[in-house]
């Protein structure tokens, strides 16, 4: 119990941030029309590509002789970038199909 309290207390700001962001996520999606579900999924997919930043940090800090980290890190940045770029481009293409109709 005490460790849990201490853990929460020490990371209280993280808890605020996470909880608030969860609320934001829930509220943002709750009222979306169903035709937009696919592009929305795709857009969210691109956003979690932010994980590429972790891969960049890892690769950026790898020793120049640490081939394991260099190779895996390279692959990490590559696939992360695929996620980001592919995700945004594919979403854009989809949304092009949902262009605003001329007002009736």
């Amino acid at each position: 119990m005490n460790t849990v309290i201490q853990f929460i207390g020490e990371n209280i700001t993280y808890f605020y941030l996470i909880i608030l962001m969860i609320f934001v996520g829930i509220e943002l999606i709750g009222h979306v029309p169903s035709v937009l579900h696919t592009p929305l999924m795709s857009g969210a997919n691109a956003i979690h590509g932010v994980v590429v930043i972790g891969a960049i940090i890892v690769l950026g800090h790898a020793e120049s002789t640490d081939y394991f980290s260099l190779v895996i890190g390279f692959v990490g940045v590559f696939v992360g970038t695929l996620n980001v770029i592919g995700g945004f481009v594919v979403t854009d293409r989809m949304l092009e199909m949902f262009k605003k109709k001329p007002k009736k």
Binding site: I26, I47, I53, F74, G80, N83, M97, F98
Partner: protein, 466 residues
């Protein structure tokens, strides 16, 4: 602490939130995607060129840029080349890449920690191993989903599925526990064992789920990858990873729930692979219920040519038959004859939300002919002929009348208000929901059996011949 980097990360996070918000409204959706991309660009640039102390170029910039450029080129090409109807596959593939990146980060970090021999506290261990497990499951699961949507992988169901999956999940936790408590090189071994079990779990998790339910699964895996990214945020105390990851984790979960609701499925049913799947095979033959009137292409052609107003209701069958182009041809032909032709777009017609918009837009049907359900429903009673092309559940009156029906409550297209209805499908088999459709027995309704593409082609030549 370098303030500029922190501020850039804040801008990135806000960009994600605003972008996602804008993506929720049709008018601003495309701009929203750009806003989110802008946030991402700011965050990545801040990582490359700023560090804790100020302006500073990150190490191994050459390799990093190489990987980024390569990823950008490949990603753009793939995204640009893909067929519109193959979008869900593509999203699934990219999602898997994100999961893989998260898993790789964990692998490097853990290996590194084993080399330095530092004692690893829970605060460090949990994000690393959670990132590994969730990232791996997301990666493997997405690959399976991709294969299934591609048609390369089939469904695979096994007995006691739920129990086995629960067991494997428990094994992951055991392995993770041993990873934490093992000593020396054992910890590395247990780490990899954890990974292998996660791979197995990913396979078992997605394999039994019906191909038609894949959009739901992808959405779920999408939110998994979000959580994996958030783990990275903890690991590096990096706010933009944390915020972006949590946002997608939460928004993705809700999106999954909302999606299943729109399709009248429950998440549990999807996950244990119930129903749904039988739509692929065609489902059971229609149950009891009245007699059906079969019509011939000639009659339908005459009916349409001399109609004032025709509404086409496209459904999943149109997509499978790839009949969108010939359908557009028919539309132009009728318009030339002075017929008013429109398309009625049901939000969940097809196998992914927005499927019909994407499909018809691809065959260059003009946007103002695609009318959303709420707007077109009042128009049916002034319509002479409704042409239902490979749609079934979305025109099933049971959704309004039969409280026991699994699709009860789903809004449908009120095609039965029209003067004449013609349904194009191959047989009397049911659709995705696997239920019978009383519409087909309506005296006003004629059935034109056959593949949608072929039937429409016939209609085109008949109209021309008249």
């Amino acid at each position: 602490m370098n303030y500029l980097q922190e501020i850039a990360y804040l801008i990135g996070s806000v960009g994600f939130v605003i972008g996602l918000k804008m993506m929720g409204t049709a008018d601003s959706a495309r701009k929203g995607n750009l806003v989110a991309a802008f946030g991402m660009a700011v965050a990545v640039l801040a990582t490359l060129f700023l560090n804790e102390t100020g302006f500073h170029v990150i190490g191994n910039l050459g390799y990093i840029m190489g990987a980024i450029v390569l990823g950008t080129v490949v990603g753009t090409l793939m995204a640009k080349r893909v067929q519109m109807t193959a979008m869900p596959e593509m999203v699934s593939l990219f999602n898997g890449m994100g999961g893989l990146a998260a898993a790789l980060i964990s692998i490097i970090e853990w290996t590194h920690l084993q080399h330095t021999g530092e004692t690893v506290g829970l605060g460090l261990f949990v994000p690393i191993v959670a990132g590994l497990i969730i990232g791996t499951v997301s990666f493997i699961g997405s690959m399976v989903a991709w294969g299934k949507l591609n048609g390369k992988l089939g469904d695979f169901r096994f007995p006691a599925q739920q129990y086995i999956n629960a067991l494997v999940l428990a094994l992951i936790f055991v392995a993770a526990y041993l990873t934490f408590n093992g000593i020396g090189s054992d910890r590395m071994m247990w780490f990899y064992i954890t990974m292998v079990i996660a791979i197995v779990y990913g396979l078992l998790f997605v394999f039994p789920i019906g191909g038609a339910d894949m959009p739901v699964v992808i959405s779920l895996l999408n939110s998994f990858t979000g959580v994996a990214a958030a783990c990275g945020g903890f690991l590096y105390d990096n706010n933009v990873m944390l915020m972006g990851g949590v946002l997608v984790g939460s928004a993705g979960t809700i999106l999954t729930v909302v999606m299943t609701k729109a399709m009248n499925r429950s998440l549990t049913n999807v996950l244990i692979g119930m129903v749904g799947s039988n739509s692929n095979g065609g489902g059971a033959a229609a149950g009891a219920g009245g007699s059906v009137r079969e019509v011939q292409a000639t009659d339908v052609a005459i009916m349409m040519k001399y109609a004032q107003k025709v509404i086409i209701v496209p459904g999943y069958g149109l997509a499978v038959a790839q009949a969108q182009h010939v359908c557009h041809e028919l539309e132009l032909l009728l318009e030339n004859e002075g017929v008013d032709v429109k398309y009625a777009i049901h939000p969940v017609a097809g196998r992914m939300p927005g499927h019909m918009n994407v499909l018809l837009a691809e065959s260059s049907v003009s946007y103002d002919k695609l009318i959303e359900m709420e707007d077109i429903n009042p128009e049916f009673n002034t319509t002479d002929v409704v042409l239902v092309v490979g749609a079934n559940d979305v025109v099933n009156p049971a959704a309004k009348t039969d409280t026991t029906s699994p699709i009860y409550g789903m809004p449908i297209l009120d095609v039965d208000n029209a003067k004449q209805i013609v349904v194009l499908k191959r047989s009397m088999k049911s659709g995705y929901a696997g239920i019978d459709n009383a519409l087909f027995y309506d005296p006003k309704c004629g059935m034109l059996f056959g593949d949608a593409k072929e039937s429409i082609s016939k209609l085109v030549s008949e109209v021309k011949a008249l």
